[in-house]
Amino acid sequence: MMKVRWKCGYLCVIFAALFIVVSGCGAGDSQKVKLRYWNGFTGPDGRTMRRLVNQFNRENPDIFVLMQRMDWSTYYNKLFVAGIGKRAPEVFIIQVYMLERFMRANFIRSIDDLLAKQTEITAEDFPPYLWSRVEKNGKHYGIPLDIHMWGMYYNKKLFREAGIVDEHGEPVPPKNRKEFLDAVRKLTRDLNGDGKPDEWGFVFTWFESNIYTFMLQWGGKFFTPDYSRCIMNCKENVEALQFCVDLIRKYKVAPPPENFDAWLGFRQGKIGLVFDGIYMLQDLRRQEDLDFGGAPLPKLGKYPAAWGSSHIMCLKAGLKGKRLQSAWRFIRFLSEHSLDWAEGGQIPARKKFRETERFRKMTVQWEFAKQIPYIKLLPRTPFISEFLTEFDLAVEKALRGSATPKEALDIATEKVNKVIARYRAMYKEALGGTGE
């Protein structure tokens, strides 16, 4: 009996404590506007973003922003389901290639009325190819926070050892196909004489953006301009993919893609150069013994090009009044702090910030940002995830050698065209018109 009473006593104490905590929170925050802010910054970029959110909360006592981070792949599911249930967060980030789907689903509030009332953020501040992507039917649906693109990371120590240096002994990153092939050949070395290289010149890290970049440089196209047909098996793409395969099988300067964490190989100093995103910068910086540099991608095909993307800050559809003003203030705060965000391995989307002395001092970002005139975003279609699924599979098959580039891309093209047909039929039936 005694014991039971004691337990009740504990419970009372716990409940009392909970009550105090809960009521305490309520009392203090009653006049604060609470904003939920979702994004997929689960990597080191998340720490940078958290600092920014904390700073905003300090500077704006009348607003409280609660940030929630999720892995990008699960993030969109949550966001979608929340949006359908009318419980979307007030502010959220969408990667530009996913924007089309969300715009189509009416989840995002257009911001033209807000833009008209201020002068800081102007359309001219953004690259045209990016600004046009947040626009649909004459309305704009978000503010690009950054541009993140692919560039080249190279291991300075290995470059010096291979003698790829200028007259001052400084490593020289390759700028075209000839220099690239020359460099990666020199960088591929068999150290223990077993006939197999222990250091590789190059490695394919993330297939998707790697191969996409190669194809763009060859001048490849993925869809007809009206998106009625997929043409990813065009001659240029096949040639580009063949070149990638050749790097592995013919030139033997890249390891066969048996390795999941090719990236780790670069971090460990076993790989001469890689192409990867600017957002990997913080990861490399944590590797203290790695002496690396950043440079624009070499021009391997006919045109300079690099895969790029952007994080777009969006507002929940239907937001108004005080909540809208608070959320908008938060977005403007983030945009004005683009350079703090860039420190963690990003490029500000606004030219104004890219032209500052502070940005010039971020050496790797500065080098990567030189590619801004010619970066290419992923295609603008609502069936982007279907396209990427097929694209990834085709590329994987080709690089692993289980299909020729032509075969793999032919199959993928056929599959995507089926998806397009399904989409078109569905929209045509539901909305009338051409199904566009």
């Binding site: 789907r101 189509r104 609502p382 995830s385 599979l393």
Partner: protein
Amino acid sequence: MNNRKLLYSLSGYLFVLPYLTLFGIFLVLPLFYGLGLSFFRWELASLVPPKFVGLHNYSEALTSPYFLKALWATFRFVVMAVPLTVGSALVVAVWINTVPLKRQYYYRAAYFLPVMISISVAGLLWRWFYNSEFGLFNAYLSLIGLKVPWITDVRLAMKSIVLMTIWWTMGGAMVILLAGLQQIPDHYYEAASIDGANARQRFFYITLPLLRPVLLFVIVMNIIGSFQVFGQTWMITRGGPELSTRVLVQYIYETAFTHYRMGYASAMSWLLFLVIMIFSIIQFRILREKQ
């Protein structure tokens, strides 16, 4: 007296009620909602309203190479994982049963430990173990000059997933089997020993027949669980290489939440449900006949 009885049984229902409510709301209701959905075309990401399409989703699934490939991958997993998991669980259980009671606790705990690790942690760990360049396994194997492409070879990837699954789930089956073993009265073995039965005979003529109900329970649960495999492949290979480990649940998940085709995904879920049900019925038949 009658009142009391009523109250008694009522209190029973009251105890079940919270669970039953949750079970109803989160399992039974969505189940039938999903069944309804499977006859509709509903693409979440479009503004197009859902439309009744009859059995179209089912016929699309049954003719889709992706669905069939995922189904095949699932079958391969089940066929390899179930016998190996249950088999090794049985071996370990029998062995633990022979050691003195005090040490049994340690062994049991040791083998059960992996079961308590969440799949995301276990999956991440094994993904590192399997890494062909920097992984633990290949680090040891390199000592004898071997380099195994654990999860990057199309033929090997699923086997590696199975190996990890055995490590991860074997403890659960083992604990149940051990409990079953300990219910077998000692005097059967004593009597058999006196009759001159050797260890092998004792195992096959006493242990195995008396363990049958427990064993079949473990097998049935294992098969059901194995058909629903997802966590391991998702964490370790994401279905790769070349979709060789993309199992049905992953394909359903991707269809629903990457491509947002809810109707089609529901139809595939029901097909998976049918497959599991057929297998379960077969097993329960066997179970009943032998008893």
